[in-house]
Amino acid sequence: MTESKRVDQNTLGSYRIQPNPRISVTFNRENIQYGGGDELRTHYIVEGIESQSISAVERSVVWYTEGKGEEDLGVVFFERIQLERRKDSTQTSSASLSTDHLTGALATDLPQSPLSYEGIIVKIRWCVRVRVFFRSGRDFVSEHIFFLGSVPVVRLPAKIET
């Protein structure tokens, strides 16, 4: 299992009222490279926050475009786990979540396309996205990139490079 590059985003970044969680995701392939039709299996851990402050966790496997234009997005796996608050203020656990530090796992078959692409104007990225919703209304997203296919990285044209 291996951990990939991470992008964290706080949708209410200007109004932080509690610390951000640390979310780590491990993949079933050491080099985080997959082919079309392969099975993606991951395991994630949410740490650094009190578990009773969380109301829900969403986990998904998505691809998106990144660049100067508007973004496209495709979802191949999505699951929301609603956490209920107990009277003794401890967290109820769902089938794939433990209580001490929130952990979970997901598995899905990947499609044949679109392939990961690191272009200059546009890039296509695949990632496992874990979104944590707090009872305060805030949410926190953590993205963990992996690669579908093996399209070579675009190099700069020689005249631009010089």
């Binding site: 590059k5 992008v7 985003q9 949708t11 209410l12 970044g13 200007s14 109004y15 080099n31 985080i32 490279q33 998106y64 990144e66 660049g67 100067k68 234009g69 508007e70 973004e71 690191e118 200059i120 890039k123 990225r125 209304g137 990139i145 690669f147 093996s150 070579p152 990285v153 675009v154 190099r155 700069l156 631009i160 490079e161």
Partner: protein, 208 residues
Amino acid sequence: MSTLVFQNPFSTRFVQPGAIPWLATDISLRAVLFRLYDVDNRAIICGPHGSGKSTILSHLASVAQREGLKVHCLRIRSWIDAIRVMRVFATINPKQSLVSVDSWELLGFLGWFLCQFADFRGLCVVVTVHERPWWNNWPVLLHTKADDKTFRLLVHELMTKYAGSKTIEFSGAMLRDVFQRHSGNLREGFFELYDHYERQSRIPFSRK
């Protein structure tokens, strides 16, 4: 096979309204929301292209949501969207909702009708325009205008949070130059920096 990721901090996903912070220090977003109540719940945010209108609208919507209001965010692309706006205006609860509408002036004369309807129902509405249209007499809540310092602060924040490479830096003089060349349009400035960043981050890789 390569697992290189050239993450560019000036990509649309990081600089779009709502993703970047609103850095005005003279007034808080909550104060802006209260000012909206003071002016009878309907107002205009006015400013040139890329000056932060949509950004403040997005943050204002978040604050309103945290205050317990049900927020409806709409973006006008052509006058046909008047139907969508009308549907929202007609169905929401005026006491518990806020409607934010981006690019309001694209509605043309249909906007006048929607203004009258919003006034009649007593809705809470904030809209963005480049210049106040003649058919809209709602008060101006804010006049947005970007400055060189805000641009530099935002660039610094984007680079700190999202830059894949720690070796790329932009000098103050360069940022001033970019800002002035785009006449204070932050969006265009970020797009130019996107190209600079892309070029600089790929040079070491391309030489291999």
